[in-house]
C-alpha cells in the first residue's frame, strides 16, 4: 500500500517536473504563431510607404526653414537621409534643385556618405524665386542608382 502511494507520488512528481521544465524552455514563446506579415493595408495612410518594389536605398528628403524666416522658399535648409538596403557601403549622392523649366535654384550639390552615416544637409539661398521648385536626389553605389524627386510650392 505504502509502495503504491510512493509510486503514485513519484509519477506525479515526474509529470510536474516535465511541466516545469517545458515552461522554462518556452518562457520566451507566445501562445499564437501568426505567420502572416504586418501588411500595409490598414497602416498605409500613417506610413506613406513610398516604394513600389524592393528599394536599393531607403531615403527621405525634407526642406526646412528657420522659424522666423518667410515661408516662400527663398531660403531653406535641405536635409535628407539615405542608406543602402543591402549592406554597409558608401553612397555617392547628388542633389539638384531646379524650377519646372530646368533653371537652377541652388547650385547642384554632391558628396559621399561613408558607411554608418546617413545624413545629407546643406543650405540654399534661392537664386530666383519660382512658384514651384523640384528637388531631385540621385543615390548611387555598387552599380545601383535610384532617383528621388519631390516638388514644393
Amino acid at each position: 500500500m505504502k509502495k503504491r502511494s510512493q509510486k503514485r507520488l513519484m509519477l506525479i512528481g515526474f509529470f510536474v517536473s516535465i511541466v516545469v521544465s517545458t515552461s522554462i524552455a518556452f518562457q520566451n514563446c507566445g501562445g499564437s504563431f501568426p505567420l502572416t506579415s504586418s501588411g500595409l493595408d490598414s497602416e498605409e495612410d500613417f506610413f506613406g510607404y513610398p516604394y513600389k518594389s524592393a528599394p536599393d536605398f531607403y531615403a527621405s528628403m525634407n526642406l526646412f526653414r528657420q522659424e522666423e524666416a518667410a515661408n516662400n522658399l527663398s531660403e531653406f535648409k535641405f536635409m535628407a537621409a539615405a542608406a543602402p538596403t543591402w549592406g554597409e557601403t558608401s553612397i555617392q549622392w547628388e542633389v539638384k534643385i531646379q524650377t519646372e523649366d530646368g533653371n537652377t535654384v541652388c547650385p547642384t550639390q554632391s558628396g559621399t556618405l561613408s558607411p554608418g552615416t546617413s545624413s545629407i544637409e546643406f543650405d540654399c539661398v534661392s537664386l530666383l524665386l519660382a512658384p514651384k521648385i523640384i528637388v531631385q536626389m540621385t543615390l548611387s553605389s555598387s552599380g545601383r542608382t535610384q532617383v528621388f524627386e519631390q516638388s514644393y510650392r
Partner: protein
Amino acid sequence: MIVLVALSLLLAPASLLAQPSLSVENLYDQKSRTPGVLIPFRLKSDTPGVSLLSASALPDNSVDCRAMRDPFLADMFLLKCKSESSVQLHIRFSYDGRLHTLNFGPVSVKSPDGLVLIPDDLSGGGDDPLALAGRQLFGTYCVSCHSSPQQMSGRTSTQIKDAVNTKGEMAFLKSILNSDDYTKLEVYLRNP
C-alpha cells in the same frame, strides 16, 4: 523529486533552450531620425532560420509612433513617429518553428532645432487660392506639431477653432488666426 526535475531538464532537447544570435541595426544615424521620416532597421542574425514577423512601437503602435515590417525586404522594418518621441520597439520573429520576441530601444526621434518643416507639393490642396493660402498657414503655424497634414485631413474650421480655444499648446494661435484663416485651413485640409 529533485533528481527527476534535473533529469527532465537534461533530457529536454537543446534546441528548445537555444536562442539565436541576433542584433538590430539602425540604418539611419541620430540626425536622420526626425518626425515624419520612415526610419529603417535591420534584424541581423548569423543563425539560419530566423524570420522577422512583425515590429511595433511600444505601447502597441501608439497614435504618434508606429512600426511595420518592410513588405519587400524580409529582414527590414520601419519606424515612423509623427512627433518627437523616445520609443521602444517590440520585434517578433520566428525561429525553429516557434515565435520569439525581442525588445529594442529606446530610439530617440527628434526634430532639428529651430527649424520648421516645409510641406512638399504632394501635400496637395490643388490650385485653389484658398487651399494654397491654407497650406501656407499650415506650413507656418501647424506643421511643427502636426508634421503630416494628411493626418489632419477633413478637419473643419470649427474643429480647428475649438482646438485652438481648448488646447493649451495651441492657445497662441487665438491672437493670430482670424475666421478667414480657419476657412483657408479647412479648404486645404479637405484634400491635403
